[in-house]
Subunit: 312 residues, 4 copies
């Protein structure tokens, strides 16, 4: 059994990590940290049963486990993650502290699988970057996208913002509401642009849902390229991927509700081109494929465990 | 007092018409038609009090009133609206039956005000076209937009679809969900393109809210144009408009919740340009500025009544 | 024109007061106080137009107006409300600071109308007490209720809790959730018990909605009394009330959505008795009949203005 | 491997059965029936991967499997379930067709475990009866409840009503809404009363959520009994149950969100007695402990498989 600790285990991504790792057959959860829930049991706080349910949240991890998931703020991760690596643990950091740092492997699993094998330090991608890059990186690499602005209109539920006590995140303020935020300045933009190797116009909007994230991409086609070619390329690229599903011109098939609670990314390519634009939609659960389940995929990939273990 | 009938008064836009016209000081509501609610009183069905509350829904309008609002399906309007015009009533049709028909004035109030004065037949704009055209028509006319794809990523609550018994509109299917629909084929596209005089990529998405509609426009700037110039032009154009409010780079100020229940259109222009694109956001209540309140604005404009009457 | 100030005008009830009083034909709004929004205009913050839209939120009211609405925390009201009364203004306090204080008239309008005429200091009832007392006081007074526990199972949207930055009021925590709170200890219990003259078991539950409040009352019938007699009594009692509507055995007719945005209280009495119990349901908009619109009803009643003015 | 078929697999409970049984280590899913989705794959419709994802929905089950779950309307189950039993399959029916029929074991797992062992025909309890009976049956049996009305005020999300095309279940009608329904006449009443051996006042209310169900019970205490005694009895009774969790006077701990997506029933007993009443709250996911997960618990119990298999 691989002995695993979760730091920041009472955050929304941390809770999902507990739920996934509690049923992972090769994992023994040995420590959960949280200042908010210090002293409470996992059973009471999160509802999990068995031995994990008897674990209590602590302020810190004492002995060095085999692997540490950090679902902590970037400032905390920045200090702590390298320490765990030095002590010999596999560190998987869910913050954006190391996503542009060569010490860590950037863990967009389906794209980075080769580099993940044997890795000891993994920077887990952000939620928006995951949903943006999975459909677009293959198209960019194949030369199917042309010049002209690449526009990403993104929508996400509230849990992406964490459990911050901010007026804008109150139920009374967000319920029945919807609006763009951090227009032109979201901190995920450099991560997306680095992954795609080109500039993008990326605009996130807040949805009145807890979970789920949709990216609507408006991408200029290269000369001679077509929506059909984009669809065919993605179908070929992701044919054997257990957690990427491709649809033709989906509506409800690619609704966020179709992926919430799952480790999936669903993608559709609209067959209708207009003004040289192809429309590509991708949806994920921001807390799973956009955070916790992708972290466990990376954990499995790094340790040579079957990648779907604990996730199917 | 102007004697007014509402056809299709039990639909979502029809109900809003009842509420607005019940408090319009120059209107006497004389007839409400509905097959769904035939025989019920307006008080029981809609909660309005006074004389209007005692009106009962009927299957048809008997005597010819001074004005008729048709909140009916397009097929019904197509037959009925011209008949009311022939009989001498002012007809205001909320369907899309006459939006491309020269017999009717296309009632985007702030743009068409001159043509509305004295009109006897008005085609009320659609909800998506209203929110799309109000910010963009002045920019197109001023030459501030350049070549390249004009992209409209639109999001609307469920009431825009009416009270149709469709599996996709069930609470259990739409709650916590969000997805694009009728990609590239929405029936509002020609209406928007006619108003703007250019092709657009328009993609609607369904929001898990009852009301409210946001259009996120990604518009190519003309050479020498800037986001600041776009903002200045709209500020000037709409300075004295009671129902159009301009914001600088809004987030919650242009959330759909800020306009639901109001006759307003709120617009913001992001000051950040990137890749030659200016981002413009506009929000309305799809049932009010996108339907019922704009219809009453048009009624007031046609009859020479102060335009905000019944709406402020 | 009656010169009116609103203290605490950026709270949820305060915002509703602005909207109502902005269209009240006998009121001139002269001051709005708020620490949160100090310096902002009412147009930007709340969307109202005209002269009221140009009012700015200030930290305090300077000149003494004719009337002051206090939508402020109880501690603030406790000090301020009596001062305004001393200075000769009509004071209407929406907090619970004076609901048990003989200096103020307890303003459950339909019950207290006689005492309100000419009043200079009014304690506006709480939201739960309003919905609880309107159907039950007439039944208690008529002797239709018997011994045995009177159970009030109440459900309310989040806005009743105000805009507090509390973890439990975050969107991510309340969305898709529902639970009882302050079981047996809610501060509204003494207010309800005083109004009814008997002890009650009152249990509030939080709904995942912004507005709306339902009280499901399970009341023991007196010997010889019946559900039909209860219905008949309430029908007689409220026949001419503009803002109380009685239904027979309602379902959707008494859904909270049927009263949100209105000054109404809707009541139904189930005709089915079982185990000696009659079930009575009442719904209000907690921010309107449970706060702002009832305050304006009381204002009108105190000053001898037609009670529905500004509200219909 | 136990070969299993699911009839009515495209209903909300049926979909949950697919998800659970797809990861049950001793089950091979061999057939899914659905008229709605006939011909579609489970991967496209439900998102499950692997071999189950390649199963297609069919109109009927051909070969006789080892076990059949019927998530079908009662009329269908009434005919089909006994046929499967005759052919030698274990039949677990989720409708209410056999809940009062001695041929089938009534599968409230924690109460009926002894009778379930080796059973060949199981009637799965309804969602409201499950949440009502789990806390109350032990109290009734221990004589802790006294005379006087036992009141159950219940609240459930929309998925309990299935995917019916009914006007009241449209998103635009239910969103932001809440109301009682079938007051005094709900078809679950006899099932609850049979389980408790006494009459109840049971009133369901519709919540604007997809899932989750709360029962607020107001129960008269027997002479000498106390809330503390009720809590102690339930703590003892359910101490070793993996899927029943007891809380002291919970609020958010017993919110419906704490059990949605889990096979749990969470219960709290308020320590505050008033007017001789003890308040007991219980929450479940209506589609899991109220349907699919309890059905799999029963399947496991009948076949002598560890009861939490596939569920933890």
């Amino acid at each position: 059994m691989i002995r695993v600790a979760i730091c920041g285990a009472s955050g929304y991504a941390g809770i999902e990590l507990i739920r996934i790792l509690a049923r992972h057959p090769e994992v023994e959860l040995v420590a959960l940290t949280s200042s908010r829930w210090e002293g409470r049991s996992a059973r009471d706080a999160v509802g999990v049963g068995g031995a994990v349910g008897r674990l209590r949240f602590r302020s810190s991890v004492e002995a060095t486990p085999d692997a540490v998931f950090l679902a902590t703020p970037a400032e905390f991760s920045l200090e702590e993650a390298p320490r765990w690596v030095e002590r010999g643990a596999l560190a998987i950091d869910l913050s954006d502290a190391f996503r542009h740092d060569d010490r860590a492997v950037y863990g967009l699993t389906e794209i980075a699988r080769e580099r993940l094998r044997g890795a000891r330090f993994i920077a887990n991608p952000g939620c928006y970057p995951t949903a943006s890059q999975l459909p677009l990186i293959p198209l960019v690499e194949a030369g199917l996208l042309g010049e002209g602005p690449l526009i990403l209109d993104a929508k996400s539920g509230s849990s992406g913002a964490g459990r911050r006590l901010d007026d804008s995140l109150l139920f009374s303020e967000l319920m029945d509401n919807h609006y763009p935020y951090r227009v032109g300045t979201h901190r995920h933009v450099p991560e997306i642009e680095r992954g795609l190797g080109r500039a993008v116009v990326f605009t996130p909007h807040l949805l009145p849902t807890r979970r789920g994230l949709l990216v609507s991409a408006y991408a200029p086609l290269a000369t001679g390229a077509s929506a059909a070619a984009c669809h065919a390329l993605l179908a070929e690229r992701y044919r054997d991927e257990p957690f990427v599903q491709l649809f033709e011109s989906g509506e409800r098939e690619i609704g966020i509700a179709s992926v919430v609670g799952t480790p999936l990314c669903r993608i559709s390519v609209s067959p209708i081109e207009k003004l040289g634009i192809v429309q590509i939609f991708s949806v994920i659960d921001n807390l799973l494929k956009g955070a916790a389940s992708q972290a466990v995929q990376n954990f499995n990939a790094a340790l040579g465990i079957e990648e779907t273990t604990g996730l199917s």
